[in-house]
């Protein structure tokens, strides 16, 4: 099977545009899910009454349902309540809804790894609960959390591949369109795989490197 390079060159700008769109939505979604995750993990750690239960329900709902259904519900279902969101807003909210719980779990793991003596020392020198979180727990938890945060980022980036289902012109959508219009199946799929490799491979390698670094840091303790 020979490649139609001419076709590939002509379709390249479409893929480039789609890749940037994917990256933009993923970036905003991941940023929001980091915020949600941090808030949730602090609520869980502080055991804020009422809020704690709400956060637990949210985490279970978000972790045990597929992103595709979350998006369909947001995009098609909520318009019936009079809430109309653009495709891109839906995509970002959906990704943040899904990612928030994963990030919360990652932060929780990090917070739990901070040794008791650290927290007790903090309390004994009279730090308030907030100061304790801000100056003692978070800085230490962050290092331990980094690898799982990175893994979550890759997971969420991969999940963006279903944005095409709510009419966002992402990589999958462009591929489906091109297959439908030109029947250049092999070339379009080749470009799709290459595009995802370009985005995800460096991240994955970086993560492996980071994991090794953090493990060194743990040994140094």
């Amino acid at each position: 099977m020979s490649m139609n390079w001419e076709f590939i060159m002509s379709a390249l700008p479409l893929y480039e545009k789609a890749a940037w769109l994917t990256l933009k939505l993923a970036f905003l979604g991941i940023l929001a899910s980091l915020g949600i995750g941090l808030l949730c993990s602090i609520v869980l750690y502080q055991r804020t009454k009422g809020l704690e239960r709400l956060v637990r329900v949210y985490i279970e709902l978000s972790r045990n349902t597929p992103l595709l259904i979350q998006l369909f519900f947001l995009y098609y279902g909520l318009t019936k309540l009079g809430i109309t969101l653009s495709e891109q807003t839906c995509a970002i909210i959906g990704l943040a809804f899904l990612g928030g719980s994963y990030m919360a779990e990652a932060f929780r793991g990090g917070i739990e790894s901070v040794s008791k003596s650290q927290i007790e020392s903090g309390i004994s020198i009279g730090l308030s609960k907030l100061q304790l979180v801000r100056y003692v727990i978070l800085p230490q938890a962050f290092a331990v959390t980094l690898p799982s945060l990175g893994a979550n980022c890759i997971f969420l980036l991969k999940e963006t591949s279903i944005f095409g289902a709510i009419a966002i012109a992402d990589l999958m959508h462009v591929t489906q369109d091109l297959i439908g219009m030109y029947y250049q199946t092999f070339e379009t799929l080749f470009m799709l795989v290459v595009a995802y490799l370009i985005i995800l491979l460096p991240l994955s390698l970086f993560l492996t490197w980071l994991e090794r670094k953090v493990r060194y840091a743990e040994f140094g303790n």
Binding site: M1, E60, L61, R63, N64, T65, P66, L68, I69, Q70, F72, F73, Y76, G77, L78, T79, K80, L81, I154, K158, E159, S161, I162, G164, A165, M172, T175, Q176, I179, T185, F186, L189, L192, V193, Y196, L197, L200, L201, S204
Partner: protein, 225 residues
């Protein structure tokens, strides 16, 4: 408008149709989980063998499924492989093939991790007792490894069930597709149909996945203590 919309779920045979679609989804998930567990054990055992070539091959296989999104794999097989080989494959078959290959890779990694986490003296004591290779695995290593890998394996099953929602993208008439058909047909009588149908599908997935995730969490805690 919204409150009366819930009737769309019980109009005609809508509920039976939705549950029928769910059955297709569940079938794909169930078959894929069985196949990937069986293949995964083989892959995992082979990964623990001290062969550089095997380790490299399986590492590559695993990373290929970890880095490329599953939806891309579904597209690749559904549109690409069928085109190259000039054959037709049903979406269901493609889904089972892709999910099984993905699951086998992940399950293999779980099995490998469980086997490697066993203390070395277990294997050495077995050997010192004069157990054969098969006896060693059958009576010493596998029973202990199974306990360690169950939480991860159940977690993987939950992920696979959630991922089955993607099969609608390659033309399988699953619960999502049936939902879309019902919404399209009842758009005039029940304008709020999409809210209730997608809400129901959301809850259906939750009902399947939530007990699984509780089970895996319970096992994890039991094993840690």
């Amino acid at each position: 408008m919204l409150s009366s919309g819930i009737n769309v779920l019980f109009e005609g045979s809508n509920m039976q149709r939705l549950l029928g679609g769910l059955l297709i989804t569940a079938q794909i998930a169930f078959i894929s989980i069985i196949i990937s567990s069986l293949l995964g054990i083989v892959v995992g055992l082979m990964m623990t063998l001290k062969s550089r070539v095997l380790q490299f091959v399986f590492r590559f296989y695993l990373e290929a499924f970890r880095i490329i999104p599953i939806l891309v794999w579904l597209f690749f097989v559904y549109f690409g492989v069928t085109n190259m080989l000039d054959i037709h494959l049903d979406g269901e078959i493609v889904a089972v093939v892709v999910f099984s290959l993905w699951g086998a890779a992940e399950m293999g990694d779980i099995v490998r991790g469980a086997l490697e986490s066993l203390p070395k003296h277990q294997m050495e004591s077995g050997k010192a007792l004069g157990l054969s290779f098969w006896q060693l695995y059958r009576f010493v290593l596998i029973p202990q490894a199974v306990r360690r890998m169950l939480p991860g394996a159940i977690n993987l099953s939950t992920r696979m069930v959630k991922t089955t929602s993607l099969v609608v993208m390659i033309g399988v008439i699953d619960v999502v597709k049936v939902g879309q058909q019902i919404i399209e047909r009842s758009i005039i009588d029940f304008p709020a149909a999409s809210f209730w149908i997608y809400g129901l599908i959301f809850i259906l997935y939750f009902i399947i996945c939530y007990p699984l995730s509780i089970l895996s969490k319970k096992m994890e805690m039991k094993w840690e203590s």
